[in-house]
């Protein structure tokens, strides 16, 4: 069974049909790509899945559960974590605090935490230990106590990933993870995402413009254009699919991503 599935999802902004009956199914264990030209609706679908965007018709199921009535803060508790297109960290906080906030779903009894009761302190200690492990996994140990706003770009990207994974999700949603990255940073990020998928056993759904990333890491992709599905398949087939070529470049030119 699919980990995540969307059926006939509609989103209208006034007269504009941002999503016009879109389907998506993400098998567990995969790195799945969601691509399309600008304005295709991929970010809108991404936001429907992460619950930041309501949809007017259709259904989205995650592990068989209908997401329709849930809010953005419910996603993390179900095991879905997301990142943002332009890095969106808690800027005044340290790396460690950012990762700890990512573990919010595991806070336990808020009263015990607020009053520093023994049970609250025990849990806080456990969370901090786990946060340190996450930081180590992402090479952030050196900057654990740094305010994230002062960190270099590549570090901020990794803090955001570590924060998303801190809650040990089963599905990681990445919104254009290499936007603004240079070639070297893109390569580094590809490796990190592969490692997350392989070593942590996390399914990844990635919305992306960058075809080199899609080719390098995705097992399968869905292509959207003007709010509709136009193709689905392995990256190599898809990038030569006539409808995809047309959507991206017009009829005559082949994509050479």
């Amino acid at each position: 069974m699919d980990l995540l599935s969307a059926r006939g999802v509609h989103v209208h902004f006034g007269g504009l049909r941002a999503l016009d009956g879109v389907d998506l199914s993400v098998p567990p264990g995969s790195i799945y790509g969601l691509i399309g030209p600008n304005g295709a609706g991929k970010t809108t679908l991404f936001n429907c899945i992460s619950r930041f965007q309501p949809y007017s018709a259709g259904a989205i199921h995650y592990r068989g559960r209908d997401l329709g009535a849930l809010g953005p803060h419910d996603a993390m508790g179900l095991g879905m974590a997301r990142t943002f297109q332009n890095i969106n960290l808690f800027r005044s906080r340290s790396t460690l605090d950012n990762i700890l906030i990512g573990m919010h779903a595991r806070l336990g009894n808020p009263l015990a935490a607020m009053l520093s009761l023994p049970s609250g302190r025990r849990r806080e200690g456990a969370l901090r230990g786990r946060a340190r492990q996450m930081a180590e996994m992402f090479g952030l140990t050196d900057v654990l106590d740094q305010q994230v706003v002062h960190l270099p770009f590549g570090y901020q990207k990794r803090v955001e990933l570590a924060r998303a994974l801190a809650s040990e999700p089963t599905l990681l949603l990445l919104d254009e993870p290499v936007a603004g990255c240079n070639e070297e940073e893109t390569r580094e990020l590809c490796e990190i995402v592969r490692a997350i998928n392989r070593d942590l056993n996390v399914t990844v759904l990635v919305v992306e413009h960058d075809m080199s990333l899609v080719r390098a890491i995705c097992d399968e992709v869905t292509v959207l254009d003007f709010g509709r599905n136009i193709a689905r398949g392995a990256p190599v087939e898809i990038l030569n699919h006539p409808a995809v070529v047309e959507a991206y470049l017009g009829e005559t030119v082949a994509p050479h991503a």
């Binding site: 992460s50 930041f52 809010g71 953005p72 803060h73 419910d74 996603a75 993390m76 508790g77 974590a81 997301r82 943002f84 969106n88 960290l89 808690f90 800027r91 005044s92 906080r93 605090d97 700890l100 906030i101 990512g102 573990m103 919010h104 779903a105 806070l107 808020p110 935490a113 607020m114 009053l115 520093s116 609250g120 806080e124 969370l127 090479g139 050196d142 900057v143 106590d145 740094q146 002062h150 960190l151 270099p152 590549g154 570090y155 924060r163 809650s167 070297e184």
Partner: protein
Amino acid sequence: MSERGWQITLTFLAFGALLALPAAIPSFYASLLAFMFTYVIAAVGVNLLTGYTGLVTVGHGGFFAIGAYTTALMAKHLGTSVVPGLVAGTVLAGIVGFGLGIICLRLGGAFLAIATLGFALAVGAVLNNWSIFEGREGIQLGKNSVVGLGIKDVGFYYVGLAVMGLVMLASWSIIRSGVGRAFIAMRDSERAAEAMGINLRLYKTVAFAISAAMTAAGGVLFAHHNRYVSTETFGDTWLSVDFLTAVVVGGQASLFGSALGAAFVVMVPYYLGELRDFAYVLNGVALIAVLVFAPDGMAGVLARLLRRVLGRTAREVAPVVDPVSVGRG
């Protein structure tokens, strides 16, 4: 010693000094300081909401009034004193704060500030017009006692110090917990906070409720300190403005800052004596000066000075990121 170590040490030293102080000063000054403590308590409450959670309130004078009038009416009709008043006043203000939080959920920035200002005005109007509150006539409170023991200036000083210590400890405990992290996360980025599983509605209203309850504790003590409440003090919005000024001038998101700021708004009019109305001007000037030149307030300025003095220690704690030496690994 780490920066945190310094903080804890200085806090203990400060409280130790405050414990010993009444022995060294006339009881009149002990009473003045006790008055200041009530403002510190209120400012700590405002700071939790405005400094840490990022929700600007210009209405906490309303919660201060709820605390003061709850205990005043209880004293008048039930003959109770400080402790029952504290319990009832904070609980009632917490409930009202929760309600106001729900009403203000969709508001932010200037709109929230105006809505909370409206709340303070509404409280003032109720106090002025509902006869049980006695309007400008006011309500007299009897002699103060704690669990049956009568207290005067110095005794009240210690009660104030204890409540201030408790409120600060509670605020500190909340802020360093996962709940406090959620408050700060909402201030830094609501979208990201939501994505981390933080229920904005719940956490905002809870922040409102706790903050209101804390400020009301200050109001309860204020009523017992003056042994008199009337709309002369509680009928307008100056208290609300004073508390916000204290938090901003003292230093947002800093407990020490709230204490400094409260000392500022209490002591300046006191030492101006005859010219005390001039304090409003001075507060305004201080507010603008801080916002323009030192957004982290008096506490921030002091911390920077201390770090410079303690040079090396500070650098150990907060090394400047150097992308070259850290590497791009």
